[in-house]
């Protein structure tokens, strides 16, 4: 009986001890005076740092943890440890300390419920978070002086709590329907045990640019404010197996002794935006890859960079527009907003315009990224239907009305209760890249690739029944597999290498993209002088003329007529430019005729104008324009048609002022097919199309 009483007393005392606040007091630790002394010293050291502000919380944790080891049951220490962790990158460690602080003394601090709310929210304990935030709201409403902060702003706090409670409700809903993804660490060639973040990719995912605070940064200095290396920009390329090769520091002049962080990368990976925090409150610069060297960053100009904080930007796929993030007060809906600027004819960025209230909220919008389709904008926001901190959203531009769709949260687990920023997505829409801190992190923040699997692919079950009583064989159930919604990027990525046809040397050439419908030049790009590589993004729904030009060479033309509903595709097209020499021949892919007629269609205008320019640039040039048909129809009909069509081109050029003596027309009918699609051979329309062409041949120079 006595033993039972003792056990009950021990249990009761144990419980009392766990639920009771234990001060760092000699009465409580009479048997370990030295230990208490050391613990109090650590506590004092920690407090000193704690009082210095959040910048020093990371260092305070070291001392507090030691004191906590000695006395884990002090409410104030648990509270402060919770706060310190909440301000660190290890936020998820805060909750147990804050819960314990509440258990030991729920009145330990006026804002305990607020931080508990934050910690529960972070841990996706939605209902507990809502309860904690609500308790805190009630407390400050009834006693605004509860906070000892002299700068306490009641209305601001009410707004903040409302936002967080809304986020909890959003989170509850979003988590119920997670998006199907694989999330993979980009590996040791990219990530280190230090911070990596801000990944941006080229449209074909072959180039990755990011920021890191790893040792060996340019200048080798430590940021005293953060006790970390200064930021530098790094670049990585993929090998032929699709694996990332070891990253390289982009080096000077892009990286400096100070912080250098990248922002948007152009679709072809030849140009990117740099954020320099030291400049004028935070400004944006650009650098261009010239061969193998990145040019010295140049400011994006006064219209983009203000005295306020311009934090990130990205290019439109044609490179002629940028989306910028700024907190400048003009035309602003609150915090950082997203703006849009277009390049003028002189190559200067124009006055940025706010994207409007569909995109921008009274909270911060950040880390903007335009998909290579030119319509889908990804950005991070604390507003809209965020489930906590910054979430990633997407909105689609209606190119006809100019209106943006309601931003859509891209879903959990890509979005979390913490800040989710710096998200970019491949042209195919299959892979996203972002910064996160996950279990398989090499240390601190790492870069990850998200593979989007799309909606769940339903399994198909099969059944049968004995439907007819007098027939033995069961009848199979008719199966209609459920339709899966496919959201596919509707664009074509055209890429390749431009070389000299004779020497095979890589060439830096100009690539001109023309909308054949309007004959307007949509965009111009250059191939890289060191690799000859080029990449252009062609959103679906247009008939594109592509002209590859370089002085001293005949231009090369390609045609891409991409219907609106066309699926994503990557076309690899290496281009060999021919020297301007007698006998040189090129195909004019963007000269179009009406069906079975020799009437030039208006979509041919841009190509014909290029031809006129060439004739004017080289006044001694004499050429032959040859018409070619496919093998469909009779030989004689094709012969006549080709002659008429060649003549139609010559007539056009003559009418436009080119001397008739410099031009000769020739019809070849179906005598010079470029493939095996001769009479009687079954071929696809695409194969026949290859044979239907107008050729240009140099006769004299």
């Amino acid at each position: 009986m006595l033993a039972r009483i003792i056990i009950i007393l021990i249990i009761a005392l144990g419980h009392t001890a766990f639920g009771q606040n234990v001060e760092f007091d000699k009465d409580n630790f009479a048997s370990d005076k030295d230990g208490l002394k050391e613990a109090k010293a650590n506590l004092k050291e920690g407090d000193k740092l704690f009082e210095e502000g959040t910048m020093y919380y990371k260092e305070a944790i070291v001392f507090y943890e030691k004191a906590q080891e000695f006395n884990p049951n002090n409410a104030s220490l648990n509270y402060k440890l919770g706060l310190c962790y909440m301000s660190s990158i290890y936020k998820y460690k805060a909750l147990p300390f804050l819960e314990k602080a509440e258990k030991l003394n729920s009145q330990v601090a006026g804002d305990l419920q607020y931080y508990l709310g934050l910690a529960y929210h972070l841990d996706m304990k939605w209902d507990k978070a809502i309860t904690a935030f609500s308790k805190y709201r009630q407390m400050v409403q009834t006693d605004p002086n509860a906070s000892k902060d002299p700068y306490f702003n009641l209305q601001g706090k009410m707004d903040d709590i409302k936002m967080r409670i809304d986020q909890c409700y959003n989170g509850k809903k979003i988590v119920e329907a997670p998006v199907r993804v694989f999330i993979d660490n980009l590996g040791d060639n990219i990530n280190t045990k230090y911070n990596e973040y801000g990944a941006v990719i080229s449209a074909d995912e072959s180039v990755l640019v990011y920021t890191s605070r790893r040792p060996g940064s340019t200048g080798g200095k430590i940021d005293p404010g953060l006790n970390e290396q200064f930021e530098d920009i790094y670049i990585a390329y993929k090998d032929e197996n699709g694996e990332w090769l070891p990253s390289k520091n982009v080096g000077k002049p892009v990286n400096t002794d100070n912080h250098d962080a990248n922002s948007g990368l152009s679709a072809d990976g030849q140009r990117f935006v740099i954020y320099l925090g030291k400049s004028n409150g935070g400004d944006l610069f650009e650098s261009v890859l010239q061969g193998e060297i990145w040019s010295k960053p140049e400011s994006m100009g006064k219209k983009i960079n203000t005295d306020f904080h311009e934090s990130s930007a990205c290019y439109s796929p044609d490179g002629r527009s940028v989306y910028i993030v700024s907190d400048k007060p003009d035309d602003n809906f609150g915090g950082h907003d997203i703006y849009f600027s277009t390049m003028d004819e002189k190559g200067k960025w124009g006055e940025p315009k706010n994207l409007g209230q569909t995109i921008n909220t009274k909270y911060d919008e950040e880390a903007v990224y335009m998909h290579p389709n030119g319509k889908t904008l990804y950005f991070s926001s604390q507003g809209h239907s965020s489930m906590g901190g910054f979430d990633i959203f997407k909105s689609v531009l209606n190119t006809e009305t100019g209106l943006w769709s309601e931003p859509e949260n891209i879903g959990y687990p890509v979005n979390t209760t913490d800040d989710d920023v710096f998200f970019v997505i491949s042209a195919s829409g299959k892979h996203g890249y972002y910064t996160s801190m996950r279990k398989d992190s090499r240390g601190l923040r790492d870069l990850y690739m998200i593979t989007f699997l799309g909606p769940e692919k339903p399994m198909v079950l099969n059944n049968e029944d004995n439907l007819l009583a007098s027939v033995a064989a069961p009848v199979k159930e008719t199966i209609i597999a459920p339709v899966v919604q496919v959201k596919e990027a509707q664009l074509t990525i055209l890429k390749g290498v431009i070389t000299d046809a004779l020497t095979q040397e890589v060439l830096e050439a100009e690539i001109e993209i023309v909308d054949n419908e309007t004959s307007k030049v949509i965009a111009t790009f250059k191939s890289n002088s060191a690799t000859g590589k080029y990449l252009v993004s062609l959103p679906a729904g247009k008939n594109y003329g592509i002209a590859v030009k370089k002085e001293g060479y005949l231009f090369h033309s390609e045609n891409f007529d991409i219907p609106k509903a066309a699926a994503f595709q990557t076309v690899e097209k290496d281009v060999e430019l021919k020297n301007l020499a007698v006998g040189s021949k090129i195909v004019l892919r963007n000269i179009f005729f009406d069906l079975d007629k020799a009437t030039l269609r208006k979509e041919s205008t841009a190509e014909l104008n290029r031809l006129i320019k060439l004739m004017n640039d080289v006044p001694t040039l004499k050429i032959e324009l040859g018409g070619h048909t496919d093998s469909q129809g009779s030989d004689s009909y094709n012969q006549q048609l080709s002659e008429k069509r060649a003549k139609a081109v010559v007539d056009y050029l003559t009418k436009e002022g080119i001397a008739a003596g410099r031009l000769k027309s020739a019809g070849y009918g179906e005598t010079q097919l470029v493939n095996g699609c001769s009479n009687g051979v079954k071929c696809s329309d695409e194969q026949h199309q290859e044979n239907r062409r107008t050729e240009f041949k140099v006769l004299e120079l």
């Binding site: 699997l453 899966v484 496919v486």
Partner: protein
């Protein structure tokens, strides 16, 4: 209900059908005066043939009918009964010849009906359908002719016309449980699940011990979204016939739809224990394993289903789904591609993510 059971059902119907026809003829002959002459001897042989037929001594019965007809060439009833005997012996062509001769002597609706049965057995469904039509023209209350004609219309996919015939069958024979069942099935094919449920229940009101009707009722309920009801009916079917692998497979599917993936897995296991080469149950078990995140198990079951039926498009589709989650992108794309090739069009959209 397994395949053998169904065969037994079919046999019973035919057997009873034929017996009825044979005995009815015999009764009329038994009552005739017997005179010792060729005609009398023929009648005796005819009666003997009926006895042997009733004892399932078909070859001996055939010999008696042959002799009777030899003695009395226009002995219509003997010719008719010989046709029936030949049908039992699976000599359908011979049976048809006898029914032709019988009809030549007397346009008896039973002869049309029986000829229809033999033609159906030969796969000449359209000709059988014509004979059933002739039968009901001659006897508008011939329930079986309506029923079997309805069956052919059902098989031809003309479900509404089948329903009309089954309705005639139950008009004549109000306790015709098979006709109610089949009419329910025709309604089900027309996606009139409520109508189907009504008819299956009518069939069960007549005979509550028909496992296939409970199964069919379960499937109609499943189609209508009443998963709990469906599971109950499949359970009743299984209670009446614990070797009914189709009902186990169907109950598994209902449990799958009800998100009871573990329960589904158990049912598919049972179906496979009863019929280990049941490709459907393998494919379905793979689906349950997929939902239970056993992707490797899913791939294994689909592979087994494909080994049984190399043209099983949906097993390829499902295997592709599991391979995707096992990070075997190439394998998944190959499977979806094969699925499309085999007609599982649902896989086409999956291919859009393949290179």
């Amino acid at each position: 209900m397994n395949f053998n059971f169904r065969k037994t059902v079919l046999f019973c119907i035919c057997s009873l059908g034929w017996s009825f026809a044979g005995l009815s003829q015999a009764d009329s002959v038994v009552q005739a005066d017997i005179i010792e002459s060729d005609s009398t001897l023929a009648d005796k042989l005819y009666n003997s043939g009926i006895d042997k037929f009733s004892s399932k001594m078909y070859e001996a019965a055939l010999a008696d009918f042959d002799k009777a007809i030899e003695l009395k060439p226009n002995f219509e009833k003997a010719i008719y009964n010989r046709g029936i005997t030949k049908h039992e012996l699976k000599d359908y062509e011979g049976a048809i010849a006898d029914f032709d001769a019988s009809i030549g002597l007397n346009k008896n609706p039973e002869s049309y009906f029986s000829r229809g049965q033999s033609k159906y057995a030969l796969g000449k469904k359209e000709e059988a359908l014509q004979d059933y039509t002739e039968c009901v023209k001659a006897n508008t209350n011939h329930a079986k002719a309506y029923y079997y004609r309805g069956g052919i219309k059902f098989e031809n996919g003309d479900y509404q016309a089948a329903i009309d015939d089954y309705t005639e069958a139950v008009r004549v024979k109000k306790d015709y449980s098979y006709a109610y069942n089949d009419r329910g099935s025709a309604k089900r094919q027309l996606e009139d699940y409520q109508g189907a449920i009504y008819d299956y229940q009518k069939a069960l009101n007549v005979d509550n011990d028909l496992p296939f009707v409970h199964n069919n009722l379960g499937s109609a309920m499943r189609k209508k979204g009443d998963l709990k009801g469906a599971i109950q009916e499949y359970t009743k079917a299984i209670g009446l016939d614990n070797s009914y692998y189709i009902a186990f497979n169907n109950r598994g599917s209902a449990r799958y739809d009800d998100k009871d993936y573990k329960g589904a897995l158990t049912d598919f296991d049972k179906a496979l224990a009863l019929k280990k080469d049941y490709a459907y149950a393998l494919n379905n078990r793979a689906s349950a394993k997929f939902k239970l995140e056993d992707y490797k198990g899913c791939v294994d079951d689909c592979t087994k289903a494909i080994a049984i039926d190399a043209n099983y498009g949906y097993a390829y589709l499902n295997r592709g789904n599991a391979k995707e989650l096992l990070r075997d992108e190439k394998g998944a794309c190959e499977d979806w591609s094969k699925a499309v090739e085999l007609g599982a069009e649902g896989a086409r959209t999956h291919l859009s993510g393949c290179n």
